[in-house]
């Protein structure tokens, strides 16, 4: 009996905190999204806010833009991060400085990261200046628009810069825990280095890649700072929309904030769930 309960007992403290603190918040947020917010005099439950938000033509654009940003940035971060982790792992003969410095961007808060990418990529940024002094461009306007642009390049670059080391750190941690003799065994069975990576290393670190992907995807899907600071005026990502509604001093706008947030939450859970399901399917049938 105890054996059966043991995992639940071990999860209990975490669940008490997550559920305990979260449920209250989520329920209140949900009520507000339904227009129930007595303290400012909204006393009726209604679906009108949902209807309004969902029917707003810019909502779909924002939704697509959000998905696009977080998907592209997360996928690229994962690829570069894994590449980085593996190459550090490979070239590690003795512990080098690179093992510490690659982690630096993790320490940098997102808003600073935005500032930093801004410094690099605007038409008067460091990159433009370098190109100018090398003679590749002759005036600012020739430098492509990478910040506040509708392709969200600035946002994506910021997320990649911020999350690549995160992925690399997680993957590197796991890599160094894998029995390296397994790679030897694979080499010995005729796998070349690439195959060792794809067939042995990658599948073994895949669970960690998956969960870090989920983390960075949901983070970038739900956070407003970077797209707010570097995004185009139109379309805005959903979190930016929600944030702008939230900061509207007219509190009767609060239900819109909550509607957008509830939709965001719902889709994040859905995507995470779908992703982990498909991942399971793939890993079952690739044999």
């Amino acid at each position: 009996m105890y054996k059966k309960l043991k995992p639940y007992i071990m999860l209990a403290p975490v669940m008490i905190i997550i559920l305990g603190i979260f449920t209250m918040g989520l329920v209140l947020g949900f009520f507000q999204s339904l227009g129930y917010f007595p303290v400012i005099g909204l006393n009726d439950f209604t679906l009108k806010y949902y209807k309004e938000v969902l029917l707003d033509k810019s909502f779909i654009d924002s939704f697509k833009f959000s998905i696009y940003i977080s998907l592209i940035s997360s996928v690229l971060s994962v690829i570069i991060g894994v590449l980085l982790a593996y190459s550090i792992f490979q070239s590690k003969h003795k512990k080098g400085i690179e093992e510490i410095i690659y982690k630096l961007p993790i320490i940098v808060p997102h808003s600073i990261a935005a500032l930093l990418v801004y410094n690099m990529l605007t038409q008067s940024g460091v990159l433009a200046r370098v190109l100018f002094s090398l003679g590749f461009i002759s005036e600012q306007a020739q430098f492509p628009s990478l910040i506040f642009d509708k392709n969200g390049i600035g946002i994506i670059v910021t997320y990649i810069w911020k999350e690549t080391p995160f992925i690399a750190m997680v993957v590197y941690t796991v890599l160094s825990n894998i029995n390296e003799k397994l790679a030897e065994a694979a080499l010995n069975l005729g796998a070349n280095k690439r195959q060792v990576f794809w067939r042995i290393i990658l599948p073994l670190i895949m669970p960690s890649i998956l969960s870090s992907f989920i983390i960075i995807f949901s983070f970038s899907f739900g956070s407003f700072e970077v797209p707010y600071l570097l995004g185009p005026t139109n379309p805005k990502t959903l979190p930016v929309k929600a944030y702008i509604e939230y900061t509207n001093p007219d509190l009767t706008h609060r239900p819109y904030t909550m509607v957008i947030n509830m939709i965001l939450t719902f889709y994040s859970f859905l995507l995470v769930w779908l992703y982990s399901k498909t991942f399971k399917l793939i890993s079952k049938f690739n044999g």
Binding site: I17, M24, Q90, I112, V117, G222
Partner: protein, 268 residues
């Protein structure tokens, strides 16, 4: 073989350069007075921002120390409760495991502002608002997912057999935890710990709300400057922020490593 590791060295260096170079620019910016287009080097330098930060009147350094302590406490608590949870998720098979795995990500998935007000109300009711305890508790929320996920991965790899061996040799569960589990997960603990520290250290929205201004952290001082676009200030604060985090992390890493290294010499 040789050529391969050469290539990976090059890849590594390029990526690391791209990651680090912008930080160099931040460092530079914290001393820049003016840097007009198209100069490659700033026109004028100054130390206004650092003077401000070091000025005791605005308590930046005191608040920095407090923040470090606060985040350290949060980190320790997060890790302590993440370890059993991660072990359960990583080692055992039980009903609803997948559900729990997604649930622990909830704090990342659900936007903070969606739950902030509810949390605030709850904390006021519980008498936790405006207290250090309340802030510590609320920091656990965004920190836990990182702690749990990373440690879960580690537990999935190391499994349970070493712990079993220790139990068989007469170690009780606490001894097993301290002598076997901890050292085995130490690298993962370092990663998780540093990330959790960072997440807590850079929290500001929840700190505002629950700390209510009673508890002021370094990020609360820093963020207005980032928003106001005072690049010299923002970059200087960032540099202080980054350096202090780095120092803390290095100290932790040193302590952890020396603790387990030290065992080799005076283990009896």
């Amino acid at each position: 073989m040789k050529r391969n590791s050469y290539i990976s060295k090059v890849i590594m260096c390029v990526i690391i350069f791209l990651l680090i170079f912008p930080l160099g620019v931040v460092l530079l910016w914290s001393f820049v007075k003016i840097w007009p287009w198209p100069n490659l080097v700033p026109r004028d330098f100054g130390i206004r921002a650092f003077e401000y930060i070091l000025n005791p009147n605005n308590k930046s350094i005191r608040i920095l120390c407090f923040s470090v302590c606060l985040s350290s406490v949060v980190t320790v608590i997060t890790l302590l409760i993440s370890i059993p949870a991660a072990k359960a998720l990583g080692v055992y098979n039980f009903k609803g495991k997948d559900f729990f795995k997604i649930l622990v990500l909830a704090p990342i998935i659900v936007p903070t502002i969606a739950v902030a007000m509810g949390i605030h109300v709850a904390f006021i009711k519980l008498g936790l608002a405006n207290t250090v305890l309340g802030v510590v508790l609320v920091h656990l929320i965004p920190c836990l997912p990182y702690g749990i996920r990373i440690l879960t991965n580690v537990f999935e790899i190391i499994g349970e057999s070493m712990e079993m061996q220790a139990r068989v040799l007469g170690a009780n569960s606490i001894q097993t935890f301290i002598r076997i589990t901890l050292p085995l997960i130490a690298p993962g603990l370092l990663s998780a710990g540093s990330l959790v520290f960072i997440v807590s250290f850079s929290q500001y929205f929840l700190t505002f709300l629950i700390g209510g201004g009673r508890i002021i952290t370094f990020s609360m001082l820093m963020f207005p400057y980032i928003q106001s676009g005072d690049r010299m200030m923002a970059c200087s604060y960032s540099i202080v922020f980054i350096l202090s985090t780095l120092v803390i992390l290095l100290i932790i890493e040193k302590i952890v490593r020396s603790y387990y290294k030290g065992e080799n010499y005076f283990y009896m």
